[in-house]
Symmetry: C2
Subunit: 233 residues, 2 copies
DNA sequence: TTTGGTGTAATGGTTCAACCAATAATTGAA
DNA sequence: TTCAATTATTGGTTGAACCATTACACCAAA
């Protein structure tokens, strides 16, 4: 019904402000940022608070901080990471829709392959875990999350786990809306049954196909929701 | 000939220490970290220095920090991101090789698809850029990087750019070694010519195949280098 | 002219001490 | 027992000072 509000601390606000300046081109790659002392004065925050923000941007691949020298803007097209993309998604509302489509496209390409590998590589243990998940009496949304995670772990490739986290992170907000409709719940429950069967039976092609089908289904609905969401704004 | 050494500041050292504790299971998901004041005392660093480390771990998806409450360990299998994987790669030398193979596997799956999309979607501008890159007199290593980036940008999907950054980041060290051999240089130059041709001519299948071939070639060599590297240690 | 040393200023890194703000736990009144 | 007020705990922010590294200008030796 209601979605959580995110309370930001000063440091995050500062960070977002700087990210925006970089993404919008006000600050270009190679540019040197003013010294921390000046910048904190300009932004009217303490140097420590600013430094925490800068450290985050550094972790996102946006800055290059060098003691004794200064702080330089990096080209995020060369050094940015997926975590940054999440920020871009939220901060640049003008291209949010385009990025979402990009993410959906990649997900439809990757997740079926993940299911394929899981059907090949899943351990007996992971197989049992999947089956037990099916029978557990959980909210569909939670069950869905858990099954996808179990598939990622069963794939035998740790990258799928982190890539899946990225997708989940992005679509978290949509999940509540999506699963509020009975027909979507039914579709997911059917999907759960089928995908678990394919994976426990070690049928890669089937697993891939089943994953692809639910993604196509969910994509259409997600896009529809997104359009409505934009109309609200 | 020589590779850059990375000097770490205190804050990063603290961060690595905590990451290690989490990865090795000394700190489990859900566990509460000691208060910042206590922790900084235990680690014999100032609270601010510690806080910068914590903020980084937060960005990596390892911690959940809540004012007035405390700092909790998150399950990195649920909230970790690719940036964290990079740290895991360096900090957990016991599984470095396995993770590398995971990364190579995913790359071989994703990059050909990226090339495919680029051949479909590349703009006239990106096409020209690719061709001009071919003729520029650059070190092979730089040219290789630039061409891959151009392909990612030409794909029309911003995610490929960030995923490519991840790969580049991981294989940066190997690049210097790889391109120090004449035969590898020759292989790459041939690859550059062919992939640019396929993409400018809008031939997706060909682009995909060509990308796959160079990856297979480079993978074998990378794995060989890795084995040697481990023998050194 | 080039190379390497020296000193100085600029700039990020770290420390200390204090207070603010949000949360959780406790207490006590209804 | 319940709920509101109070208190203690804990992360967030501020200010000032000092440390460590780097860039730069300058100089001396080759």
């Amino acid at each position: 019904m209601f979605t959580a509000v995110s309370k930001k601390n000063l440091s995050d606000e500062i960070g977002d402000q700087i990210i925006n300046k970089i993404l919008s081109g006000v600050l270009s790659p190679g540019n040197k940022l003013p010294p921390e002392r000046d910048l904190s004065l300009q932004m009217n925050v303490n140097r420590h608070t600013l430094r925490e923000a800068l450290r985050k941007l550094d972790t996102l691949g946006l800055l290059s901080i060098r003691q004794g020298d200064g702080i330089y803007i990096r080209d995020f097209r060369e050094s940015g990471n997926l975590e940054l993309l999440k920020h871009i998604l939220y901060l640049r509302r003008d291209i949010t829709s385009d990025i979402m489509k990009n993410i959906l496209e990649i997900r439809r390409f990757i997740s079926p392959e993940m299911a394929y590998r899981a059907a090949q590589n899943r351990s007996e243990e992971e197989s049992e875990h999947l089956k037990s998940l099916l029978e557990q009496d959980l909210p569909v949304e939670e069950k869905d999350l858990a099954i996808h995670q179990s598939i990622a772990r069963g794939s035998g490739n740790i990258l799928y786990i982190f890539i899946l986290n990225f997708f989940n992170n992005i679509f978290r907000d949509f999940g509540a809306l999506y699963f509020s409709f009975k027909e979507n719940q039914a579709a997911s429950e059917k999907f759960h049954k089928n995908i678990v069967k394919a994976i426990t039976e070690k049928n890669p092609e089937s697993a891939k196909k089943i994953m692809n089908e639910i993604l196509v289904y969910a994509e259409n609905i997600t896009l529809k929701y997104m359009e409505n969401k934009y109309e609200e704004i």
